[in-house]
């Protein structure tokens, strides 16, 4: 009974880990431990990815992630990072509007302001 369950969970494993119960049992136990650990880590990883994507999208328009997030918070924009990354990827003009709003607030929008920073 339990052997069948374990071998069913061991599908796709490498070598004897998918065929032989003595090897598979160890690998399946480890895989379940990893699954438990990574269900919690997945939430962290996704947030890190969203931040990277927002950073890239914002830098296209001349604003860094830190400036964007602090600027949006100052203007009480409640969009979370997940939605910001979705906008940056699929709705670039809407995202640009948000970035421009922050840039205007910080006085970075004018081209000559960028030259003045040098």
């Amino acid at each position: 009974m339990n052997k069948d369950k374990i071998l069913k969970l061991a599908k796709g494993f490498r070598g004897r880990s998918k065929n032989c119960i003595r090897v598979a049992r160890e690998r399946v136990e480890k895989s379940l431990q990893y699954a438990f650990r990574d269900r919690k880590a997945k939430k962290r990883d996704m947030r890190a990815l969203w931040i990277q994507q927002i950073n890239a999208g914002a830098r296209q328009y001349g604003v860094k992630y830190s400036s964007l997030i602090s600027g949006l918070a100052a203007q009480n924009v409640g969009l979370n990072r997940k939605m910001l990354s979705e906008l940056a990827r699929t709705e670039p003009l809407s995202f640009k509007a948000l970035v421009d709003q922050v840039a205007h607030m910080r006085g970075l929008s004018a081209p000559h302001a960028g030259a003045a920073l040098k």
Binding site: Q53, Q60, E86
Partner: protein
Amino acid sequence: IPYFEDLNGAAHMHVQGRHEGNKRRAWRQPWRSGLRSRFRSTTSAVVGGLGEALHGRSAPRAGSTSHNFLVTSHSRVVGGTSRRMSMVATSPLVGTAAQRGVWAPQATKHSGFFGARLPSHAARAPRASSGTASPLTTCVAATPSAPPQARDRWNITYYPKGADAAALQKQWYIIDAEGQTLGRLATLAATHIRGKNSPAYSPSMDMGGYVIVINAEKVAVTGRKETDKTYFRHAVGRPGSWTVETLRDLRKRIPERILEKAIRGMLPKGKLGNHLFRHLKVYKGASHPHVAQTPTDITRHINLRPSEVAALKE
């Protein structure tokens, strides 16, 4: 609460007793008499409401005994509350087993408590609800399958497909290395190859573009790196065959390798990193064979702040 019917058509509540596990064991190992006695009282617990309904049905078969027990105090109903019992009481069984479409064995060799050798999940007829239309007692017919909808873009995590990372859609960039600082150029090239300059970035897929570097032999280094930066080489599989050469000597020998090593060190290591590295094209001299790809010149982006880069684009 699931119920099943025995040989005589009487309905029995499958109430969960304390020794629920024994019930299954008794099913599979009926030679173990010790398991039977424990739930003797729970199998025959029938709610009074059901009992009334049984009276109203067609005549039971000859020799049958009506198992119309009221729920007594000694019948253990674990997890059941008075609310649950009242819900079941208001949904009486109507009609015979055959009328209800419930499967019930007509005759078996065995009798007694194991006469109805039914698995617990069998024979669940839809209960006729009499007024109480709570989700627990009402069986709702399955809705017809809805037409296939478009993929919900906002509630499903996006993951780039192979088509998104296709080579035909990749951007081409060109950097002129003449006079540029080695490391600062390499950073820019690695960022564009990896794809971290666009919001479509995904670490597990190749979402970046191609980078061409020309005039590789003219790349500059600061300080004393021209003479002091060394490149280590150990090709042969035995001790003592290593070689160390300075940047100046390597520039004379194979100048492309200086930039290749620098950029490779900034790309991820592994299969994906090796794949990304092949998107770097370093050339000695000013000409390159990728004119047809119309690469974008990003040389001026080296060592600029994002705001300055955006100002350049305008």
